[in-house]
Symmetry: C2
Subunit: 173 residues, 2 copies
C-alpha cells in the first residue's frame, strides 16, 4: 500500500521509511513542488498534524500521513513545545535551536523534559486517526552524538545513558 508523507523534511521521510518501509511504499512531497504546506497555526501538536494531513489529502489520492513533534521542558513551562523547530527564529538551524535551549536552561535546575510526536492519518480530506508518542527524559548539559536531527543530541530518555543522537536509528524509533 502507498502512503503519502506530508512533509518536505528529508530527515522525517528517512525515519518513516525506516519504521514503515517494509509495510508501506512511502512517498513524500518532493515530486509535488506545487503543493503548499499549510502554516502551522494550531495550538497543539495534534492540531498541526491533523491540519497538514487533511489539507494535503484534499490534493493527493490515498492515505496521507503528517506529523508534528517537539520538546517540552518542564523548567521552561513546556517550551519550546510546538515552536521547537523555530525556537531560535524562522528557519533556524538545529544547532541554533539547541544552543538557545542550553542557554535558557543555564540557571534552571529542573532539566526534565519529554519528546512528543503526533502522527495524523487522513484520506480524501478527512482525518481518520492520530497516534501520539511521548518519551520522558532529561536535557543533558552538552550535545552528544551525531545521529538523528533536531534536539536529539541533548535529549536523553529516562532509563538510558545515551542521548537520542548517540543511539542507532532502531533504538530511537
Amino acid at each position: 500500500m502507498e502512503l503519502v508523507l506530508a512533509t518536505r523534511n528529508p530527515h522525517k521521510t528517512r525515519e518513516f521509511r525506516q519504521l514503515l518501509g517494509s509495510t508501506f511504499e512511502i512517498e513524500d512531497l518532493s515530486a509535488n513542488p506545487d503543493i503548499v504546506m499549510p502554516e502551522e497555526t494550531g495550538s497543539t501538536f495534534q492540531e498541526n498534524a491533523i491540519c497538514k494531513a487533511v489539507c494535503v489529502s484534499g490534493l493527493k489520492q490515498g492515505f496521507v500521513v503528517a506529523d508534528d513533534s517537539g520538546l517540552e521542558v518542564d523548567g521552561l513551562s513546556g517550551a519550546p513545545g510546538i515552536y521547537s523547530a523555530r525556537y531560535a527564529g524562522t528557519n533556524a538551524s538545529d544547532k541554533a535551536n539547541v544552543e538557545k535551549l542550553l542557554r535558557e536552561l543555564r540557571n534552571v535546575p529542573d532539566r526534565s523534559a519529554r519528546f512528543r510526536c503526533v502522527i495524523a492519518i487522513a484520506l480524501s480530506g478527512k482525518a481518520l486517526a492520530t497516534v501520539e508518542g511521548v518519551a520522558e527524559g532529561t536535557i543533558v548539559l552538552q550535545p552528544r552524538g551525531n545521529n538523528g536531527f533536531g534536539y536529539d543530541p541533548v535529549f536523553q530518555p529516562t532509563g538510558s545513558a545515551k542521548t537520542f543522537a548517540e543511539m542507532e536509528a532502531g533504538s530511537k524509533n
Copy 2:
C-alpha cells in the same frame, strides 16, 4: 527482549502478541496471581495506563507495558470514555455494555465517535513513555461481526464499510 504486559485480560494479551510478538517475548500477569492490579482511579486513559505500568514495574523486572482504552461518543458528551469497560456496571459483559450504548443513542442523531487507546511503558517504577492512538468513526445501528471484543461490533472507523468486529485482526491493528 521480554515485555511484561500489566493485564489480566487474555484478549489484550492476544492483540499485543499479534502486534509485537515478532519483536518481543510477551508475558502477562497470568503467572503472577499475587500481583494486585491498582484500581483505575485516574481521570484520563493516560493516567490509568501510567498508573498500572508504574505500579506493576515496581514488582516485576524489566519493561512493563499497560494500556487503557475506550470509546468516546460525541452525542453522549464523550461517554462512556474511561468507564467503557464498566458502562453497564462493574464486571459488565461486552454484550451488556454494547446494549446500553445502543439504548442511550436511540434518540441521539450524532453517532460520531472515536476509539482511544493509550499504552504506557515503565521500568523499575518509573514511566518511560506513552503512546496514544485515536481512530475516528461512528456507532452503527446494530452490532455486526464476530472478531475482536468490547465495542468492536458497533464501531465503524471512518473510511471503512466494516466494523472493527468484521475486520481481520491485522486490519484492526
